[in-house]
């Protein structure tokens, strides 16, 4: 079943995939056992001539143990899933690793607007606004500060295993780090109007070198400054609270 998953190109993607795998094994096993028991009972205990059903009410504790012991197993598996899922949620949604590139994202009916702060890192000075295409370097933490100009949208890139709603009146930060250069589709995954299905963006992940070139094309004067900034962000590394 998990063979249907699209290729995964983010640093936390493998965590989500392995969690999915864990849940599918656990839940799949429970599913097969339960359905198997149901099917076995249906086949074994069909009416026979002169047969009589056992009078078992399942009211005594001894009988109920047949139900309660499997339930204990369910509880144990539940707790295991809770704990593991929490760790992934924290990694993706609660931690805020220092970012190499910060981009403002404004969603609108029916498109995406990405604002780059320019070499000084400050919004409102040498901003660069790109519609539709988000260009980022591979191997660096990208922070998106998400907002919306009209209704609720949702930023979704299947290959990043990342999804987050963009809500008007709120600024919601998310982060990701892409591992593979390439072109990926950004989809809106929250119903946002009659052209919701066509609200496609492009995520262009470049090698660090290509990204530097892209930066120097857009801010020719201070290309070297950005390059240093990007480099320092990379060496300080992600994973720590920002």
């Amino acid at each position: 079943m998990l063979g249907w998953l699209p290729a995964d190109v983010s640093t936390f993607g493998p965590n989500i995939d392995s969690m999915l795998k864990l849940i599918f094994y656990v839940v799949g096993m429970a599913f097969v056992l339960t359905e198997g028991t149901l099917l076995a009972f249906i086949i074994l205990y069909r009416r026979r001539k002169g047969g009589r059903a056992s009078f078992v009410r399942g009211e005594s504790f001894r009988e109920l143990a047949w139900v309660l012991i499997p339930v204990l197993i369910v509880i144990f598996l539940d707790v295991m899933i809770d704990v593991k899922a929490k760790a992934i949620w924290e990694l993706v949604k609660e931690q805020n690793p220092p970012a190499g590139v910060t981009v403002k994202l404004e969603a609108l009916q029916f498109g995406w607007e990405f604002t780059y702060p320019g070499p000084d890192g400050q919004f409102g000075t040498h901003d660069l606004v790109q519609t539709t295409t988000l260009t980022v370097p591979a191997g660096q933490v990208i922070r998106l500060i998400m907002g919306s100009k009209d209704v609720i949208h949702s930023f979704y890139v299947p290959q990043l295993r990342l999804r987050q709603d963009a809500v008007p009146g709120r600024e919601i930060p998310v982060w990701f780090e892409a591992t593979q250069p390439g072109k990926y589709e950004i989809a809106c995954s929250q119903l946002c109007g009659i052209s919701h299905f066509a609200m496609k963006g492009i995520l262009r992940v470049l090698t660090p070198e290509d990204y530097q070139q892209w930066v120097s094309q857009h801010w020719p004067k201070s290309a070297s400054a950005t390059s240093k900034r990007a480099l320092s962000a990379r060496t300080s590394g992600p994973g720590k609270e920002g």
């Binding site: 078992v56 139900v67 290959q159 009146g169 709120r170 589709e185 299905f197 066509a198």
Partner: protein, 573 residues
């Protein structure tokens, strides 16, 4: 209602049998007629709701081609269709059939009452939902058509016509219809609760009540406690749209997440409002066709109550990615996963009921077993969605669609059909044809799984829901054949409904006469004639035992009605 002797209460409530057509069949106060009215309304709306899904499913499988009987689907039409499909199926099919039809027809008979506690309130609750349905259907024909904002009606999309390309009256009528529908269900719930609490026959202690009565009570309480916030939200949204207030508009200082909290605070208990009575139907049918007591009667009651209580603490799992504080996700994830505990108890107890049973596969039992099998799938697939870490990926994909259809269709549609085949003899005095019923089951059940198993895979492949043209995305391409399989599944389901319609209406006229108790069942509705007379019982029966005494050792017969007799041996507590 405070009489200590229920018998006295019944006489106090007695009303003469109407003779005029209008009072007998249209504005009837008889719970049996009202139950049938609900059933017809629910089935009618159900066929409309499924019909809508035929149109958009065709578009999903073969995008851009003309749908037979409809023509090409446009994007605005597509969003109108999916919105109205969800709204109709949840609010105008599930609730009218499970609470309205079965709650009305079966509960008073099961507890041994002459009618519902408040017969006129009962009539008005039906006519209120009837008006609500008419309002909703009218919204298809107003300028710019019906609502396109999704059945969850998220703001600000649903707040202003400019966001949905000019839908004004469609959105207003949606809100009015939904609020009216809720008012109706509230009236119905009060009636079911009061009837079950105050109008039970002598000897019908609460621990002798059939499980369906318990489940209808749990559902009514859940609905009452959860619907308030959403009715408030609906009124505020209506004011936003029609008067220009700004309860949900960010530019006027509002937070759009408020609507989501109000909607899902109601929305999640609502799922159990329909699921729990659906399970109740299955729990009635398993012992009858297994000739064996239900396993863990009290445990089933307590787990339904526990699931009901938990359902008030899980609503924000619909909102993990909505932008609410991410720290809220973990506690809501834990409560959500914990819901699996009471449901696991219920499922295991239902399966244990079949252990060393004597199962016969009459049509009601086939539907009940099919519903049980799929409800298990619906349950386990809730885990990767309720777990916050994996919901990041699966949220808003077809995995969600497949999951909730596997919880709601088994409980509403498949268990609903089980209930129809099971109580039809009591409703109309005639049997439905078993062979046609089995054909109906095979088509419906296989078709249903053919629709939704592929949708799980689409979701895993990253295919998000509410996409009019999947060809926009390249990652969607390998998933497209799965949509074709799903649509063929729907065509199989639709074909399977033809024998049902023939059977349902034909059996009313030509069906074999049923007799009082064709299934040899124990509960009180089978202790009176089929259909029951006006005021249900010639003499109110005295209940001598619990509802599931099948195959009691030492008894000659394998059944022992609650009202006494066939079993012969001494009554048990």
């Amino acid at each position: 209602m405070a009489e200590t002797k229920p018998e006295a209460a019944h006489h106090g409530e007695a009303h003469a049998a109407p003779t005029n057509f209008w009072w007998k069949y249209i504005f009837s106060v008889d719970h049996k007629v009202i139950g049938k009215q609900y059933l017809f309304l629910g089935l009618f709306m159900g066929f409309i709701g499924v019909g809508l899904s035929f149109i958009f499913r065709w578009q999903l499988a073969w995008p851009g081609t003309a749908v037979p009987g409809w023509g090409k689907v446009t994007a605005p039409q597509y969003y109108e269709l999916v919105t109205m499909h969800g709204t109709i199926m949840v609010f105008f099919v599930a609730m009218p059939i499970l609470l309205g039809a079965f709650g009305n027809f079966v509960v008073p008979l099961m507890v041994g009452a002459r009618d519902m506690a408040f017969p006129r309130l009962n009539m008005s609750s039906f006519w209120t939902v009837f008006v609500a349905s008419v309002i909703l259907l009218i919204s298809f024909f107003v300028p710019n058509g019906a609502s396109r904002a999704g059945w969850t009606n998220y703001v600000p999309l649903s707040d202003a016509p400019r966001y949905t390309a000019g839908v004004y009256w469609g959105g207003n009528l949606w809100l009015i219809a939904v609020a009216t529908d809720f008012a109706s269900v509230l009236m119905g719930g009060i009636n079911i609760l009061t009837t079950a609490i105050a109008m039970r026959a002598p000897g019908m202690t609460i621990w002798r009540m059939p499980l369906l009565v318990w489940q209808e009570m749990v559902a009514s309480v859940l609905f009452m406690l959860s619907v308030g916030p959403l009715i408030v939200g609906v009124v505020m949204l209506l004011l936003d749209r029609m008067v220009g207030t700004g309860f949900f508009l960010p530019e006027k200082g509002a937070d759009p997440l408020l609507w989501q909290h109000l909607f899902w605070f109601f929305g999640h208990p609502e799922v159990y409002v329909v699921a729990v009575p659906g399970l109740g139907i299955i729990q009635e049918i398993l012992p009858v066709f297994g000739r064996k007591p239900i396993f863990g009667y009290r445990t089933l009651v307590w787990s339904a109550i526990a699931a009901g209580i938990l359902s008030f603490m899980v609503w924000a799992h619909h909102m993990f990615l909505s932008g609410m504080d991410p720290k809220l996700a973990a506690p809501f994830s834990v409560t959500t996963i914990a819901i699996s505990i009471p449901f696991a108890v219920m499922l295991f107890a239902m399966i244990a009921t079949l252990w060393r049973a004597q199962i016969t596969f009459a049509t009601p039992m086939l539907f009940a077993l099919g519903a049980l099998a799929n409800f298990i799938l619906g349950g386990v697939t809730g885990i990767p969605l309720g777990s916050d870490g994996t919901d990041i990926y699966l949220h808003d994909t077809y995995f969600v669609i497949a999951h909730f259809h596997n919880t709601l269709v088994p409980t509403v549609v498949i268990a609903g059909f089980a209930g129809i085949y099971y109580w039809f003899p009591k409703m109309f005095g005639r049997m439905m044809n078993d062979a046609l019923g089995k054909v109906h089951f095979v088509f419906t059940w296989i078709g249903f799984n053919m629709v939704f198993i592929p949708l799980f895979l689409i979701g895993i492949g990253g295919g998000q829901r509410r996409i009019f043209m999947s060809s926009v995305y390249t990652y969607y391409k390998p998933l497209q054949p799965l949509h074709v399989i799903a649509t063929i599944g729907l065509l199989i389901i639709l074909t399977g409904q033809i024998p049902f319609l023939i059977n349902f209406f034909g059996s009313m006229i030509w069906g074999k006469l049923a007799g009082d108790n064709p299934w040899h069942a124990n509960t009180l509705e089978w202790a009176t004639s089929s259909p029951p007379p006006h005021e249900n019982f010639e003499v109110i029966p005295t209940v001598v035992r619990g509802p599931y005494d099948y195959s009691v050792p030492g008894m000659e017969q394998d059944w022992a009605p609650q009202a006494g007799e066939p079993g012969v041996a001494a009554a048990r507590a």
